[in-house]
Every structure is written in C-alpha cells, then in structure tokens.
C-alpha cells in the first residue's frame, strides 16, 4: 500500500507527500550509487513525479503497471515497499526481486508491478496480456503500461496500441513525454503529436500537463474508469521533463542537447512546487506541515536504507535459482557444465 502517513489519502497533501517520497528516494539512490552501494547506473525519475503519482492515485491495489528503465517512481508510487526497493538496488536477498533484478528490472508482482524493463517499449504488450487475462477471467482490473516519448517509435508498442484498441482492453497507455530519448529530441524523432498518433489507432487519447499531479490524476481517472467499464482502451500523453540527465553517468558531462535555460524553465514547473503552490492557496497547511512531511519522508528513507543495508547478500550457491520454476538434472547448466 502507498504510504501517506496520517493524511487523508485522497487529499492534495497526500499527493504532494507521495511525490516527495519519490523525489527523496531517487536522491538517496544517487548518493548510494556514488558511494558504490548500488551498482552500475540509475535513470533518475526526478522531475516526473506528478505522472507516477497522479496515475497511481487512480489505480486500485490490484491493478497492474509495467514500467521502464526509468522505473523507480512508478514502482514506488504503485506501492512497492521502500526498504525492499533499496535492498533490491543494493543487490540483497530481501530485495523486491531477491537482488536478481536491479534498477531496470525491479518489480513487485504482489503490488501489481510487473516490472521495470530495460527494453524500451517492451512492457506494453505485457500489460495488454494481463488486461486480456483480467477480462477473460471476469476481473475488472486495469493495466497501465508506462513508457517514454522515445518508446512511441518502437514497433511492439505500436502493435500494442492496435491490439488494445480492437479488443477494447482495460488498458491505459501512459506516455511520459519528457521531450528527449537520451540525447534525441522528440521533435526530430516523431512527426506530429504523440497523442494524435495514438488516436489514429482508435484509442481514446488525451494530452495533459505532466507537471501537475491533479491534472494527471483527473485525466488518468477518466481514462482508467472508462477502460475498467469496458468502454475501450485509452492513451494519456503526460508532458513532463526530467531534471537530470538521461542517467547518473551523464552527471558532470554536457552533451549539449538541452540548454541551461530550458532546464531552468522546466524546473520552475517542478511538480512539487506546482502542487505546493496550489495547496498554499487552497488548503490550510503551513510551513510547519510541510516541514513535518519532509521530516517524515526523510526518516522513512533513512530507515529503509538502514534496513536494506542490514539485509543479507544472496548466497552464491543460489545464483542459478529462479531461471526455471522447475529444474532438471543439469538444467540450467553452470559455467563448467
């Protein structure tokens, strides 16, 4: 379940708090990477929190998501345990995937998270298959594949748009258009608007301000409930921005594909600030509340890190476990047979 502290889970403050959890989680991940407590790289979700939180707020616990290389936000927002996530990134046996997956494959089937995915676009048909199964077995569950603007050019994703449309699947495609696929601007990689491309496949399709968690939530809810009622699959383009580079290895390097001014402009639309400003205007919350939430989240993050650090490493002898649910003599073979 999603952690909202003592807040009303439907409140705007809860949405703020959830976004903050994603932000602080990701910042901590980067620190741990720098300290070599997490291996390889991470694709930071910072800046895009309104999408994961806004969409997840419209999903039930038994609904399903598929995610991407930039998946921490989706996974955390959908309800994975934070300590298990840190443990996964640290390669521990108590990790979501028992340390077998890492950042790009982090998943929690029990929370309806079918996994981050290292292959762009690949989660889309998997979500469609889950949705088809839900419908065929009489369950009113919905599946949401998250993916980026770059994924809109990947064949299997385009095939999936068609299948979802003709089968009227309980699926809502959520495209996080953050304007770039690594260094490639969407303006050079696709002609026309992405949500119109999806409409061309027969999907109910909308674009929304992806820096505004409320706007995302409202649009997502509309499409998700429509899909749940069997009225057809949807597509939601969320216009957002990543504040960091493509991944942690990009820090300290400038490939010149974005200007400082552009980044600055988008930072002024930080989804946390957008929501905080709204709350300042609409709800009775003060600096004290904000500080309290911040402290709560910081404490949660530190406790989760501590828990992950204390967790055991996997046993080397189990390295070939889980390749199959049923093994045979000599299968799977090891390095020497």
């Amino acid at each position: 379940m999603i952690e909202d502290g003592n807040l009303d889970p439907t409140s705007g403050v809860a949405l703020y708090r959830r976004m903050l959890r994603l932000r602080r989680f990701e910042e901590r991940v980067v620190e741990l990477l720098d300290a070599n407590e997490i291996a390889a790289h991470a694709h930071e979700y910072v800046g895009q929190e309104a999408v994961a939180v806004g969409v997840s707020a419209s999903l039930r616990a038994d609904d399903v998501v598929t995610s991407t290389h930039r998946g921490h936000g989706h996974v955390l927002a959908k309800g994975a345990d934070m300590a298990a996530m840190f443990a996964e990134l640290m390669g521990r046996e108590s990790g979501c995937n028992r340390g077998r997956g890492g950042s790009m494959h982090i998943a929690d089937l029990s929370a309806g998270i079918y996994g981050a995915n290292g292959i762009v676009g690949a989660g889309a048909p998997i979500a469609c298959g889950a949705a088809r199964r839900f419908r065929d077995s009489g369950q009113d569950r919905v599946a949401v594949p998250f993916f980026g603007d770059g994924a809109m050019n990947q064949g299997v994703l385009l095939e999936s748009l068609n299948v979802a449309a003709i089968w009227r699947l309980p699926v809502v495609f959520v495209c996080e258009n953050n304007l770039y696929a690594i260094t490639s601007p969407i303006s050079e990689m696709a002609a026309g608007e992405l949500y119109e491309r999806a409409a061309g496949f027969g999907l109910a399709s909308e674009a929304v301000d992806g820096m505004d968690v409320l706007a995302v939530r409202e649009a997502a809810e509309r499409l998700i409930e429509r899909a749940r009622r069997g009225e057809g699959a949807g597509f939601l383009e969320c216009r957002t921005y990543r504040f960091s580079g493509h991944f942690t290895a990009e820090r300290g390097r400038d490939f010149g594909y974005r200007t400082a001014a552009e980044i600055e402009d988008w930072r002024r639309r930080d989804p946390l600030d957008v929501q905080a400003r709204r709350l300042d205007g609409e709800e009775a919350w003060g600096t004290a509340d904000r500080a309290a939430i911040s402290a709560e989240v910081a404490a949660e993050v530190e406790a989760a890190v501590a828990q992950a650090r204390a967790a055991p490493w996997p046993e080397p002898a189990t390295a070939r476990d889980h390749m199959y649910a049923r093994t045979y003599p000599g299968l799977p073979a090891g390095p020497r047979g």
Binding site: V64, T66, G95, C96, N97, R98, G99, R100, G101, H105, A107, D108, L109, S110, Y114, G115, N117, G118, I119, A122, A124, P125, I126, A127, C128, G129, A130, A131, R132, R133, F134, D136, S137, A143, G155, V156, E159, S160, N162, V163, I166, D321, H322, M323, Y324, A325, R326, Y328, P329, G330, L331, P332, G337
Partner: protein, 333 residues
C-alpha cells in the same frame, strides 16, 4: 486405446484434453479460429471464443501478450504459423519471457507454450518459410522439444502444457504427412528423456525431430549390408538427456549426428560438444555431424536437396565413421 492418427491431429488432441483439464489454457495465434489450422480444430466450439484468440499480424505483441497473460495467472499457448515468425517476436521471447523469471527472483513464473509450426523444409517453400530455428531458443534457455512422431507430439505437448516455464514445441513442416499410433488417453512424456528408436551395435545415429524417420530408413538400408545402427532420439533439446546420449554413444563408440538446424552453433554442435566432454574414453572414431548447410534454403528443388541433411549425406557419414581407423583423415566429408 491406440489409433493411427496424424501428427497435427495428435497436437489437437493434446490441446483439447489439456484445455478441458486446465481452464487457464488459452490458444493465441494468427488465423487460428475458423478451421484453418488442423491443430486448432474444435477449440472454439468446446471452450468458447475467450479460449482461442485471433491476433493481428503482430508476433512481437502476441508474444508479449502471452507473457502478460501468464503473469496474470493464465497459461497461453502461442501459435507461430511459420517457424521464421519467431524472429519478429525474438525480443519478447529472448529478452522478456526467457529472462523474466530469474529477473523477478522467483516472484512469479511464466507458463507459456510456443507452438512453432512449419519447421524445416517441405519442398519449395524457400528461404523464409523453411527454417529450423530450434537452436536460437535453446541458446536463449527456453525449454524445447522436437517431437518426431504423433505419439511424442501428443505426449510432449501435454508435458509442455503442464510445465511452469516457457516451452517451445517445434513442429515439422511435413507434419501434415506424418501418421502414427497415438493413445486416446495419452500420458505426458516427461521432458529430458531421449529414446532409443532402433537398437544396433556398430554405430549410433542421433537424429533430431523429423530426421528420425529418415535415420530409421537409412539404418534399415545399411542393415542389409551388415551395418547395424542404433538410432537415438533426444526428443527434448532443453533439458537434454545427457546420460541417455552418453549411453547411446558408448553402446557403439561411433556416432553421427543428424540434425536439420544450421550447422554452426546448431543443435548438432551442442550434441557434439556434450559427447566430446563426456565420451572421450568410449569414442573409437571422430564424431560426424550431418546438418543443414550454413545457407539460406534455395528455392529450386535440385539445390534444396544439396543443402538439406539428406539420407545420402547420412549414409556417407555413417560409412565413413564405421570405416574409420586411426590414421584416417580427420577432416569430415
């Protein structure tokens, strides 16, 4: 009760029986409804339209959909109407279905069956419709079976449909012409168990899939000259019955591998490597591979015959191996 039926009918019987037994089984494929495919007959009538799903021409999505169905508790059977159609779906097979179980760390499993139809040549189907793609999926770690007979087709498909992991079932292009005895209430044939198809003391022929029938023919012909060949059929390629293989090789000390996958890094290469590792002491002659040539299948009949592993090639290789004495040439052919 044993009847003589066709290979595709045997697959159909396995599907009907298991779909009755396990209501999570769903068949998904292109042009799979409407009686076009013998192996899919009667399914819609028996189980309704939700159990047999017609796909657009989207093999990658089809395969990913199956993965999603499986993660959500279903048991999809993915029907590739031609063997080369696994290639457009390759990422979803190799990067997703094959890898997810371990990457998930055991949180879930993927009970999916891939019916790879139309494996191998059948006369003039040319470069893109005559593939034997077994080795690709075996190399990717996908459990794989290559039934040679209708009885094995039924028994191995039943096992595949009860396996908690992805399993590829490779069906020969010539299946429509293969008939044989099949039990009405057939038992599953376990994965990983090869079988001796013919006893013999002079040389061992290991034959894969539809090569088994040709191997038996060649063995009979050679018996007339006093060469008695043991014919061993692995049936299951992953898991492979390594002990059965080693025993079949040890029985004669001379071996020819007979396989329709491309030569380099094909199924015969793995069989050869296994024999080299395990049977050093029992081999009296170098092993020989008779495989498909490492080329695209040409269309024209006289060319096709040159590059497919044929009875003539097998016979020549058997004679070479049987005649081999230390000092003979080490280069095959």
């Amino acid at each position: 009760m044993t009847r003589e039926i066709g290979y595709l009918e045997a697959l159909n019987e396995a599907l009907l029986a298991e779909m009755a037994r396990d209501e999570s089984i769903v068949l998904i494929g292109e042009n799979i409804r409407g009686g076009f495919r013998p192996e899919a007959m009667g399914i819609e009538e028996a189980f309704g339209a939700n159990r047999i799903i017609d796909m657009p021409i989207s093999e990658a999505a089809m395969t990913g959909i199956a993965t999603g169905q499986a993660l959500a508790g279903g048991r999809p059977v993915v029907h590739f109407q031609v063997s080369s159609l696994i290639f457009p779906a390759f990422d979803q097979l190799v990067n997703q279905a094959a890898k997810l179980p371990l990457m998930l760390g055991g949180q879930g499993h993927i009970a999916a069956t891939y019916l790879v139809m139309g494996c191998g040549a059948s006369g003039g189907r040319a470069g893109q419709h005559s593939d034997s793609p077994h080795a690709y999926l075996v190399h990717a770690g996908i459990k794989s079976v290559a039934p040679a007979t209708p009885g094995d087709a039924k028994g191995l498909l039943i096992s595949a449909l009860r396996e908690p992991d992805p399993v590829a079932v490779f069906v020969p292009a010539v299946a429509g012409a293969i008939r044989g005895p099949v039990e009405a209430a057939a038992d599953p044939i376990p994965l990983g168990q090869g079988v001796v198809r013919r006893a013999g003391g002079d040389v061992t022929i290991v034959a894969v899939g539809q090569m088994v029938a040709d191997a038996l023919d060649v063995a009979e012909a050679l018996a007339g000259e006093g060469i008695e060949a043991l014919v061993w059929d692995p049936r299951s390629l992953l898991p492979l019955d390594r002990d059965g293989l080693a025993a079949a090789v040890a029985a004669t000390g001379r071996v020819v591998l007979f396989d329709d996958t491309a030569r380099t890094c094909g199924i015969a290469a793995e069989l050869a490597a296994t024999i080299a590792e395990r049977c050093h002491g029992s081999l009296k002659a170098p092993l020989r591979r008779v495989t498909r040539a490492d080329v695209t299948l040409p269309y024209s009949a006289p060319l096709e015959a040159e590059v497919l592993p044929g009875r003539g090639h097998l016979e020549a290789a058997v004679r070479e191996v049987v005649a081999w004495v230390p000092g003979s040439s080490s280069v095959p052919g």
